[in-house]
Symmetry: C2
Subunit: 510 residues, 2 copies
Amino acid sequence: MTVHKYSDIKLLVKTESFDSIVLQRGERMSSDKDFIKQITKRSDDFSRWYTDVIKRAELADYTTMKGMMVIRPYGYEIWEHIQSNLDKMFKDTGHKNAYFPLFIPESFLKKEAEHVEGFAPEVAWVSFGGDEELEERLAVRPTSEAIICSMYSKWIKSWRDLPVLINQWANVVRWEKVTRPFLRTTEFLWQEGHTVHESAEDAQSETLRMLNIYKTFAEDYLAIPVISGMKSEAEKFAGAESTYAIEALMPDGKALQAGTSHNLGQNFSKAFNIRFETRDQNLEFGWQTSWGVSTRLIGALIMVHGDDSGLVIPPRVAPLQAVIVPISRGNWKETVLPEAQKLFSSLKEAGIRVYLDDRDTYTPGWKFSEWEMRGVPVRIEIGPKDIEKGQVVLVNRINREKSFVEIGNLMIELNNLLEKIQKDLFEKALKYRKDNTVTNKTLNDLAQTIEEKRGFVRSGWCGSPDCEAKVKEKTAATIRVIDNKKESGINKCLVCGKDSTDTVIFAKSY
Amino acid sequence: MTVHKYSDIKLLVKTESFDSIVLQRGERMSSDKDFIKQITKRSDDFSRWYTDVIKRAELADYTTMKGMMVIRPYGYEIWEHIQSNLDKMFKDTGHKNAYFPLFIPESFLKKEAEHVEGFAPEVAWVSFGGDEELEERLAVRPTSEAIICSMYSKWIKSWRDLPVLINQWANVVRWEKVTRPFLRTTEFLWQEGHTVHESAEDAQSETLRMLNIYKTFAEDYLAIPVISGMKSEAEKFAGAESTYAIEALMPDGKALQAGTSHNLGQNFSKAFNIRFETRDQNLEFGWQTSWGVSTRLIGALIMVHGDDSGLVIPPRVAPLQAVIVPISRGNWKETVLPEAQKLFSSLKEAGIRVYLDDRDTYTPGWKFSEWEMRGVPVRIEIGPKDIEKGQVVLVNRINREKSFVEIGNLMIELNNLLEKIQKDLFEKALKYRKDNTVTNKTLNDLAQTIEEKRGFVRSGWCGSPDCEAKVKEKTAATIRVIDNKKESGINKCLVCGKDSTDTVIFAKSY
């Protein structure tokens, strides 16, 4: 039996040909072939890796209904951290939560022409309540502009009632043809902000304020670098004046739209008659915005940070920030376990989300793999020798680097390590994005980039929908955002060669 | 122009015949006839008072869809406090949140016979997704046992997987004939816990543990005293082995079921094939529970604590625990306002949910009425004279008692007052319940009680559904709960006169 170095364990765990391995610390680990079999290697098949890891880490599960998934506790807890942090950012900027009905009368949905055209094909319709056929079908909300605007027209009378800054956390349903867990599901959870303002300027400021909050949240909490900017007409929200988005680059070179903020102008206020008396006593339609992010963010997080061993969850939104694995040797329940329990209590008390894995039905090695697969940022090992030395071992999930830490310094060192991991994940993703962003000046170049390696492609664009459509037809790439500053050196449309009005970022997208 | 005493203001505000009143402090208050007109006196018409106050305090609003309401920010914030506190109690007892689909295939709903019989008449059915007619209708969940059990049967294999302790916060839809805001709406928000256990005993313990959490929460947070106990067969949940409930007495003498906890036994696990390998390697069906409370709790809170001036919200769940009203006299913006702002900042920093009403478009008197109507437990007044004396005035929402408090002692005194209000609200409600609970030994006596003043009626009952049905037929009262201890002196069934097996509590109910 070979004695492997500690640092080799992950490698070993990933082969399927061993029966048992011996840890450097002398722990015997029974094999768990099934454990690894269930996760396709990320480098082999990114798409299967994605669904495997979701299933294996118990983030979500499929139901018998197409595109309807269950978010399991471990996945839902990530959502809870996303929710609580975003909610705080919304409230700090003056927004309040409310709750509007799940259903929208068909006639309401039809009031804004572009809106109904965009959403009607995706709507789930309720036509029976009990045994009674409804006079008017009810849409299960695909988004709530219509029902919310119908209420705003009752509530808003005067400039004194403005701004209205309301958000709701809710489920929505869109009948999707192709679905993937978290990324595109028939039902999903999201938040949708719906605001009304006195002026076009105020609405525009709000649109950008929320876009910026999304960018900050994605980068600071999810450790996902995003580009932000306006969408082209072809890609904007059905009924909006303009749509802004944050876009993240996934490791397969495809872009993921991770949040949108819409300036609705007066489109909905005119359709729903949301009028107010202005400060100078005229009647005016309100200027509106809406903005949302969804459980799709969890999909982004899985893809951006994961590796062949499974998930890597950024500490700020991780259900567990650290897991304590006692090294179960000899009479460990009398010697090691009480120390581990002390550590657990003190970390928990200090507000660390920590779990003590004291199960005696699994070996430490199995537990290491399990918690790595689940993406816990830091593993804390404690064994008899550590206790003698008054230390514990911290293991960084990203690179499995170990550090030996005096128990007295644990809180400081652990916090430092968590912060470092949060930062490193972001930097790593940012480097990937930089490495996979190129500038292309012709459609042929862009087509080649997309075919060979995808990524973000910066190009000139004349602003014409025709040129945009040609790119899509030839490469399947779309304009993800219009960059807010024109890049020097990009001054011609990549399709028609006319003067470029904008620098845009193309990519294939989810 | 008459000068009224401060303590008379409320009275004046409630008459509709004045044009202006003068406060003792010399503030002129413009009339706001509409303000009061919109709230029916509670003593005149309790039911209208209830809907008036909901509308006027902007807790909720109606939509054009029958029974579908909007929970407005001020109402939703109460729900947020209910949620966060209950959620903590659930997590402290080992429960995790998850999210299951909104839709349930019709065939799933039919698996448990009693369950479908109970809920099918209330189900909203989705039969179209976009333009495509579905092969199988989907129920919009009226409760989630069916969809959750279908997943549990996949997840649970061994006793090691147990207990499963999952809760979800969700919206549900029940097609109700008669609806009232918060109390009975077509869609409502709730939480539903769904657990699976190794043994009947464990399931029963969980059922009672959660019942007890509901009781504690209702009493400690909502300041609503509740009785708890088992339901009779006639009143139990469709599909349960036994149902337990907490019941509160409303000021109109009717009972409100405020939370339920069901021991499902093996009914659902057999219907959905949730089987596990036991510790001694047999196969066994899991024992299950489910339990829930809903936005109905807000309805209970409104009714139990409100008065003729509007809402009274218990401090622990109040969106605002205190409101600061600066007395706007002379150059108050230079003198009073800065002091008020300082108070506001220090209270906010100390974690008090506080609002500074610095609007100059309203008089202090108007603001007093407004915030009393909205049920803010404590008003803090600060005027020029108070500043001279280094004091503020605290006004208790329950009885409008004032206390003059040195600014240095404000935090302590305010906290004391908030705690006192929390306690006094409970005591007041408890006294009301005691005063309105009687023992009746005959059906005639009970009928008279119900007709004359309602309330809780303690009686003997032989356990027969026939006797129970006779009471309902004659009085419309139902058994709210079976008391867990037999009361001495009640030893005959109030209908048939046979030996009483149980002491039960009858009431008319919402």
